[in-house]
């Protein structure tokens, strides 16, 4: 080291850091897709209902087809690792292995209307409805920053019904059919639940944000 300080080294150091930050900003900070919220644009209304546990699994919430939310209750009674519609008016909550119960909840009042023991043996999540009544299967994936949802029909035909541009790493997962096979709910990597028209006629909209386990009816 010669101990002499030059402005050249300061400028060079600044250029190196600025160039790296420019690369991060230009290529790394790509905006995430921002579909409109269902509550802001409910027309045409979604003819399905969403049940979810909030992100910290503290509260059970039902979201209607027009985006209005109803909190059914919070606290330890609703701490569960899975939720599923059992009928049009009841929900099943799978408790943790610790309390080992499947609790049945009234989807309109939040009252507990039944309780069943969980099956013995290893934890078995409530079966997920990735397949509709016709046997059509939904799958999700990501190609070069495009997160997509495809429906694979029983005759082998594949239809890509959603394709959202986003930064690398943005993805959709956990897709579910509504009971009538008309709508799909899918989670994105920002923990938003998106609602998708299976026929592709209605644009994708955000149904709920900050969601933990969920199910669509």
């Amino acid at each position: 080291m010669n101990g002499s300080r030059s402005r050249w080294s300061l400028v060079a150091a600044g250029v190196v850091v600025a160039a790296a930050l420019a690369v991060v900003v230009v290529f790394g900070v790509i905006p995430y897709p921002d579909p409109p919220a269902l509550a802001d644009s409910p027309d045409p209304p979604v003819t399905a209902r969403l049940a979810l546990l909030t992100e910290g699994r503290e509260c059970l919430v039902v979201v209607e087809g027009d985006g209005t939310e109803q909190e059914l209750g919070c606290g330890s009674r609703f701490e569960a690792w899975a939720v599923e519609w059992a009928s049009a008016d009841t929900l099943e909550l799978d408790g943790t292995r610790g309390n080992g119960q499947r609790v049945v909840i009234d989807a309109n009042t939040g009252d507990q209307v039944g309780v069943q023991p969980l099956p013995e043996g290893p934890a078995e999540p409530i079966p997920q409805n990735a397949q509709n009544a016709d046997g059509d299967v939904i799958q999700t994936g990501n190609d070069d920053g495009v997160a997509w949802v495809e429906v694979i029909t029983t005759d082998g035909w594949t239809d890509r019904i959603v394709a959202l541009d986003g930064p690398r790493g943005y993805h959709l997962y956990d897709p579910r059919w509504s009971a009538d096979g008309r709508w799909l709910a899918v989670r994105d990597s920002l923990d938003r639940i998106l609602v998708v028209d299976a026929a592709g006629a209605v644009p994708v909209r955000v149904w709920a944000e900050g969601a933990g386990p969920f199910d669509i009816r």
Partner: protein, 325 residues
């Protein structure tokens, strides 16, 4: 025999080795350089070690006592307590900063490094749930920025290794925590790149004398360079990170050889050991496998070691030639 400069000059003038004018010029020159640094007149190293040990025990005991009633103090009371301890540490260093004995210099460095840690604790408690209740992202970025803001002026006052480490830690933490504000998940390649760039910039400033002590500064810059590249290489698409890591390793070794920097040589060898196997596995996969990766790494290291000997000799010869000319 008196070995002071005036006595030596007298003897050399008497022996006819220097003229009286030359002796006078040398005496004036040496006087102009000022008094030689004072010898350590403080405690011996053993005494110093015992002192630090005693201080560590006192701090530990104090920590245990505070731990017993910490939860009973309000959030802002906790902030006041940690801020007071921090102020005492930095203030004690400030009071001693003009003493130039080595033991006191080390003590000042230690006190100020502890003071910077105290700043981190204070801001961490202040932004925690008991006081400001900031989000995790804000708590981390505010704490690391405060560490950097405290470490930089202390480093400007005393350019010691500990103060430089504090600056580097504050800088890296501030840069890393700022990236947490990017919405969603930023791919690892974009997390590692700024850290790599800070390391490269740090090394440029070190080579030009802006950052001292040089060895500590070099080691910190090289560490950032390697950590940044390694973070990039953990990305789902690690090619860019691995290429940057290999290029960095080659550059570090290329600089280490002619300059004879052991720090750079050590980090360069570590780079070969860490990055070459990863690159071989990624770019050649199963076609080469582990034995070939190890063989390639070993060959590079042996080749480097063999190449070092003549290069070092050339450098030494060139230096001798320049001196003799």
């Amino acid at each position: 025999m008196d070995e002071s400069i005036p006595a030596l000059l007298d003897r050399w003038v008497t022996a006819g080795l220097l003229t009286a004018e030359q002796a006078s010029a040398i005496a004036s020159h040496e006087q102009a350089r000022g008094e030689p640094p004072a010898k350590d007149e403080g405690p011996s190293v053993l005494t110093e070690v015992i002192g630090y040990l005693g201080a560590a025990l006192i701090i530990t005991a104090g920590g245990l006592v505070v731990d017993q009633f910490w939860d009973r103090i309000t959030g802002w009371g906790q902030v006041l307590l940690t801020a007071t301890i921090t102020a005492v540490l930095i203030g004690a260093g400030w009071a001693l900063r003009d003493r130039e004995t080595p033991a006191i210099r080390r003590l000042v460095s230690l006190l100020w490094a502890a003071g910077v840690i105290g700043v981190a604790f204070t801001v961490g408690v202040a932004t925690g749930p008991a006081a400001l209740d900031a989000t995790n992202e804000w708590a981390v970025v505010l704490t690391s920025t405060a560490v950097l803001a405290a470490a930089v002026p202390l480093y400007a006052l005393r350019r010691s290794p500990l103060q430089l480490v504090a600056v580097a830690a504050g800088l890296m933490a501030t840069a890393g925590s700022s990236l947490t504000f990017v919405p969603g998940e930023l791919p690892a390649v974009y997390l590692g790149l700024p850290i790599w760039a800070i390391g490269a910039a740090w090394l440029l400033l070190t080579q030009d004398g802006w950052l001292t002590p040089q060895r500590t500064a070099q080691a910190l810059g090289l560490l950032a360079l390697g950590v940044g590249a390694q973070i990039m290489a953990t990305d789902s698409e690690p090619a860019a990170g691995l290429v940057l890591a290999l290029v960095s390793t080659a550059a570090v070794l290329a600089i280490a050889v002619p300059t004879g920097s052991l720090v750079m040589l050590g980090f360069g060898v570590a780079g070969v050991l860490i990055f070459v196997p990863q690159a071989v596995f990624h770019f050649f996969g199963e076609s080469l496998g582990a034995p070939i990766a190890l063989l390639l790494t070993g060959l590079l290291l042996v080749g480097g070691a063999v190449g070092l000997v003549p290069l070092r000799r050339e450098v030494a010869e060139a230096a001798t030639g320049e001196d003799g000319s």
